[in-house]
Amino acid sequence: MIAEDSLTPAQKIALRQSRRQRLRTRLATFPWWLVIVGLIIGATLWLITESPTYSEAFATIRTGMVVTLVITLISYTISLLIGLFTGLGRVSSNIVSQNIATLYVEVMRGIPMLVSIFFIALVLVPGIIEMLSFLGSKFTEAGLTGIGASLANMNTKSISMSVRAVIALSLTYGAYSAEIFRAGIQSVPIGQMEAARSQGMSYGQAMRNVVLPQAIRNVLPAIGNDFISMLKDSSLVSILAVRDITQIARLYAGHSFRYPEAYTTLSVMYLTMTMLLSLLVKLLERRLANNGK
């Protein structure tokens, strides 16, 4: 703090102006929108505790929470693995893996997620199962009864809709995270790879020990944001009648006709989770930015 007594009158005026300016920038950059979000969440919480219909809606929808979280977490983990390998394929100099990776990414990105979930769950998975069971019957004919029987016994119904939902979300998000990993790998200067190769490391060793650690660090915030998107897009699995919070809210609204209760509660539940998560991502981003210095 400056001792104001020691200042000349002109300096005092300047100091006051400078403080006013600082206050103005603070007011201008303050996240007012966040206050409003907080108010909305607070109001809904109040409704849930005070209004019997809201508290009934919340108590019902809440039962889908486990499904939403489990589907999101499993699909997200699988999609990261798919994304990592597809991203590596995208930057690979091998023509075959590069084209397979690009084909997968472009096809997935060219189809609306809603449609690809229908396609994967209702066409691709049953198709693969049928193929396997056909192979199984052929194996049995060929005398390989052990493996033949286990394949032939597979039938479309043995794969539940929840599993298909996970497969569908993983495959669609795998394509998105592949692009994140590709961008991350390409953000690492070429000299890092060259230095590693010049020391006698193989491409794989250089990738694993030098390029990927830096690439992943660069894309951590993007990967975090992907998790938030996945949490929201997991609501799409409700069209497969998987009982996540969206599906349960739809069912509740459908037979109670309490649309405002069901959908306000549902929206605020998603909003609360995504706000908390994006706060975490921002903290992570700030920590990474500080570490880099």
Partner: protein
């Protein structure tokens, strides 16, 4: 039969390098005897760096052969990695691994390529850091030390592999003027120790003092090769004369 003179650590035989429509190297042949210090000078775009990068196959020659230590370099990845482990390279922009400490920068290849254990690798690394005078920076990240210190760390990283050959690609060009000397001093020390070195540089004073032979390149060709004395005091070709007059009288 392909013959090969065993006193030469490196033999470059009629190497061409094309980048698309552009010819960077034009029928270059060069032998580097074991234990000698070769300095390559020349205007930018003359193919100096490309020639250096063809030696450890960071660039694959379009035509011609490179022999290292009596063996022909090829595209075979296993062979290539084995040769590269014996050829240290120092880059203009240091290329220290940005996510690792200085010590880890040196130990990584020792562990991954030479399969040393953590302790052996660290002992070796500290030895080399002492040699280049930055043992106290072992636990710093590359971004936390000066350019000159980074380049010395990069030299230590290359030396720790116990290379038969050291390649320097304009090692002082990215440095602030006051840091050039500390890097040149380290290189001078290595030159006196008898390590085979091929150095691309614009530091003519260093070339005079350290080189056994100086090579002048222009337009992808070797124009002249001589002792430093001969090349700097009695350049044979007009092109060399012109180049020297331009850089020495600046």
């Amino acid at each position: 039969m392909e013959n090969n003179n065993s006193s030469n650590l490196v033999e470059i035989k009629s190497v061409d390098k094309w980048f698309g429509e552009l010819q960077a190297l034009d029928n270059v042949s060069l032998n580097v005897p074991s234990g000698k210090v070769m300095v390559i000078i020349g205007p930018s775009g003359s193919g100096k760096s490309t020639l250096l990068r063809c030696i450890n196959y960071l660039e694959t020659p379009t035509n011609g052969q490179v022999w290292f230590n009596g063996e022909k370099m090829s595209g075979d990845q296993k062979e290539l990695n084995r040769h590269r482990a014996e050829i240290g390279m120092v880059f203009q922009s240091f290329n220290l691994y940005a996510h690792l400490t200085i010590l880890q920068n040196i130990t990584l290849a020792l562990k991954v390529v030479k399969k040393l254990n953590e302790k052996e690798a660290e002992t070796l690394a500290m030895e080399q850091l002492k040699r280049v005078g930055i043992a106290d920076k072992a636990d710093k990240m590359p971004a936390q030390i000066s350019g000159g210190q980074q380049q010395r760390a990069a030299i230590a990283r290359a030396l720790a592999m116990r290379p038969k050959l050291m390649l320097f690609d304009e090692p002082t060009s990215a440095l602030d003027p006051e840091m050039i000397k500390e890097v040149l001093d380290v290189m001078m020390m290595l030159a006196k120790e008898g390590i085979t070195m091929i150095i691309v540089t614009h530091e003519m004073g260093f070339a005079r003092a350290a080189a056994d032979e100086v090579i002048f390149m222009d337009h992808g060709r070797i124009v002249e090769r001589n002792t430093p004395d001969g090349l700097f005091n009695n350049p044979a070709s007009d092109r060399t004369k012109l180049f020297l007059s331009q850089i020495l009288h600046k």
